[in-house]
Structures are given as structure tokens and as C-alpha cells.
Symmetry: C2
Amino acid sequence: MKNIGIAIHGGAGTILRSKMTPEKETGYRRALEEALKEGWDILNSGRSSLDAVERAVELLENNPLFNAGKGSVFTHEGKHEMDASIMDGKTLNAGCVSSVSNIKNPVLLARLIMEKSGFVYLSGKGAEKFAAYHNLAFEKDEYFYDEFRYKQYLSALEKDNVILDHSYESTEKKFGTVGAVAIDSEGNLASATSTGGMTNKKFGRIGDSPIIGAGTYANNSTCAVSCTGNGEYFLRSVTAYDVSALMEYRNMSLEDASDLVVHTKLKALNGEGGIIAIDKDNNISMTFNSEGMYRASVKTGKEIEINIYK
Amino acid sequence: MKNIGIAIHGGAGTILRSKMTPEKETGYRRALEEALKEGWDILNSGRSSLDAVERAVELLENNPLFNAGKGSVFTHEGKHEMDASIMDGKTLNAGCVSSVSNIKNPVLLARLIMEKSGFVYLSGKGAEKFAAYHNLAFEKDEYFYDEFRYKQYLSALEKDNVILDHSYESTEKKFGTVGAVAIDSEGNLASATSTGGMTNKKFGRIGDSPIIGAGTYANNSTCAVSCTGNGEYFLRSVTAYDVSALMEYRNMSLEDASDLVVHTKLKALNGEGGIIAIDKDNNISMTFNSEGMYRASVKTGKEIEINIYK
């Protein structure tokens, strides 16, 4: 019997029940289910965990509900700058991209960088040139235009503050990064993360999403991890790799390592957000210290689980 | 008695004795000594390890012998794109910058980002805008022009390959990143790293130097680390944080952790380069798996050591 599993997230933060309508909730649940199922089908057909996480993240990027790809928020200059990364737990190969515009699916670019560039991390106009050279799909600015995001942007400009992802109000925090982790029938782990950044972000700010060790990590000997939260704290804490290190060096379980990292270590720095992780024995952990995290998982012998709140 | 210490590096790689003249060697040794001494004087006067590593790296950036700041190599487009990072082991605060041009001292920008931006990691034109806003020193392209580097660039363009840092020949590898680690009289650790990247680099490639956890890490409870080498392997291995994790979670000594990371873990991926590290007890480790590494160190009760080869 194949022992396969996949977990995905669509961001964490203060997701207030009072602001959530049944229609909105259905929309989020449907989007998560669709991405999860496609990832699952890939694993179930014997294909790799890399293919599964890439496809799941691609679908989340294509949905304007999430702050990644099509749903990316506006920067201070009224543009879209996206970051993504992917890691192969079998080879420890990785691909990272930051500050790209007009790329339809940054996660596909991250994979292309991993497999075709000879580098690990490309950025900005140079990365876009690499994408064009390999005929990756570009979209015009209009594709990324979303009325809700644009109003967020105008509101943030007016207040001149920086809104973390798709908050309904500036006092309400949401970290709309998307991500996926999976294990395939050959026991290979993989993870991927993608984000549209922060509304009204300035100065070419980069968070943890494109960074191996911070937002994304995968290693067949331990686990695969994808993070979402206020990226500064995840960068400083090297969060994704820390889960792996605690398992490898302290023999902690995936759950204990995830809990320690999210509820103790991140908390100590006032870091907010969550992680999804899967280990080599197909344990899945979805841990967050914020009000909610859009998340879903399925594995051999278990039904699909889709949740938003604690 | 104050127990203070500082170590610096000016890059690792295949530094062939046959290509090294006494004049060149004297130049490198003098530059390392000058940077080390200024860092030491700062520590000795009771100032912070952050100030010491910042100043030491600033001086190495100002010296065209090293591939950072003034001595940065040419990108494929004939420009200079620089990366740097700094981390404070007391607070785990950090500042990172990548893909900036015309900034005289990227390490000063990294510190400014840490202290004034509210972010951790800024990049490209946005980071330059932030630097200008804070009146950081800019230099024209001519400042970064160096005949030796330009010839390297023309030669690489002709062969259309990517030369890692300041190689004399494309078969000879050198990773010219600079860095510093220090402990001050209050027991606070800090580290900083700065690089001019790779000759003829394309597509906005970023290495490990600006990444917390990969090229730079500092934590008062363990150690401070700065790396140099082919950055792709350091990114995938989360090298700088790994040294800290091995000390914290496995109770390894600084030397054992450094040796494992450089001689076993990096080697397993064919990664080449080295690290400098200092721990909370003022042990200093300068480990590399390449032919040589420009390096120097001094600490309470020990004379200055300056070395290039094994």
C-alpha cells in the first residue's frame, strides 16, 4: 500500500469569524479542496511529491482569493512583486525567485530555476529574463488586477502603512502566502511556497517565502515545511530548517518540533503565523499561533480535512 | 579581564601558490590586518561586536583586492550588483540587502535596514531608494571599475561562462566574499557578510551572502558565523544556522560543528568554500574545504593570526 500525503495552506492571520460570510467560507474551502485533490491525484498516480506541491501551489496562485500569483497584493508603486521557492527533499535541490512581476505562476519559475539555471536563487528583471528565455507564461498587469486588492492598496496608501497581505482592515492581520508539502510513494518529500507580499510594501522588501531554510525546506531524512506569517520573524528564526534540525539533532517528533518552533521560538520574538509540515513517516502537522490558517490535508487512510479556524 | 575576539575572511577558493607573488601576498595580509585591527580596537574600547564586524567588513569592501564593495566583479551586463547581511546575536535582529548597485558600502546598508526599515530584507532599486532616503554614500560606476576585474569580465564574456569571484583563470575557483564575526566585552555576538557576486553572473542570481541562516548567522546562545564559497550549496545547506543548530541541539563544540558542516555536509553536495565562526566562549574556528581562505583572527590572550593557505 502506497503511503502518500499532502498538506496545503492559503495563509494565516487574524481571520475574524465576524467578517466571514458563508459564501466566502465556501469559496475558500472549495479552492483549498480543488488544489489538495489535484495534488493528491498526482501522488496517487505514482508521480513525484515535487509535481504535487508545484501543481497545488500553481492552483492556489491562480485563485484571486489568495495572496500569490493572480491574487497578489499591490506594492507601494501600484505593482505586483511576487516571490516563490521549491525544494526537493531527495536531492536537496532548490529553486527560489523574488521580486518578479507579470509571471503567471512564480512557483513554476522556481522549479525552472532549480532544474535549468545552474543556480538556486534568481531575482527581479534577471529572473524574468530567464523565464522569458524558457517560454514561461507571462500575464499583463490587468490579469493581476483585483478590485478588492486595489481598494486595500488605496486605503493603505492613504494611511501610508503597510498591510500584511489580504487584511480586511489594517488592524486585522493576514498573511496570505500559499504553500504545499507532500510525500510521494517513493518516500520523497517536497515543499513549495509562493506569495504576493504585503499591500503597499516599499523598498523591494522580501519576506521568508523565497528563502530556503526560512519559508521553505525539505529533506527526505526529516520533513518538508512551508511557512506563512510575518516573514521578518521567520527569516530571523530560520523557521523551516529549524523544524528539520530539531527532528534530526534532537530526535523530536514532527509535531513537537513544529509546536516548539511556532508556539515558543517564534512567539518569543513576537512572530505570528503558522507552518504546515509532513515528515518521512507521513505524519502531518499544521500549527499556527494566529487566529486562523487556511489549510487542508489528506493522506493514505485518512479523509480530506479542510479547516480555517483553530 | 575583557574576553573579546574577532575573525574575518576575504574569500575562499583555489588560491594557487604558483600564482601568488610576494607583493600580492603582502597586499592581502596588510588589508586583512588593517580590517582586523580596526575591529579589534572597537571591541577593545568597549564598543559592540556589531560595530566591530560592520567596520571590518566596511574596510574589506573599500579594498579592491576583495570581491565586495569597491572590488565587486562585473555582472553579465557589465554592472556591479552587491549583496550583504548583518546579524545581532543578542536580539536576533538582522538586516539583509541584495542586488544593489552604486552603494559604496552594502554592509552599512544592511545595518541601516536592520535598524531603520522595520523590515529584514530589502532588494534592488527599492533598497537603493531606502539608502538614498537615509543619505547613505553612493558611488558612480567608475568607483567600482577595476582593470583586473574588467579583464576577467571580458574573458568570461568571451567564454560565456560564469566565473565565481576573482579567479585568475576560469579553472581556478575563488569565492571573494568578505565577512567578520566577533564577540564583545558584554558577551554579545555579531556577524556580517558582503559580496560582489560572480563575474559574468546572469539573471539576477543571488548567493548565500545576504541570507540569514545560509551566509550569515549570530545567536548569543551559540555562535556567530560568516560563510564564503559557491553560494548555491550554502543556500541549500542552510550552512550558517546549521553550525548554531548543531551546537544548540547536539551540544557539539564550535570546532566540531564547523568541521561537520564544512568537511562532511557541504562536501556531500560537492559544495566548496569555508566559514569563520566565533562562539560565546570566545573559541574561534576558521574552516574550509578549498585550497585556501584569506583569513585573520585575534582574541584576548592571543596574538594576531593571518593566513591564506592550509
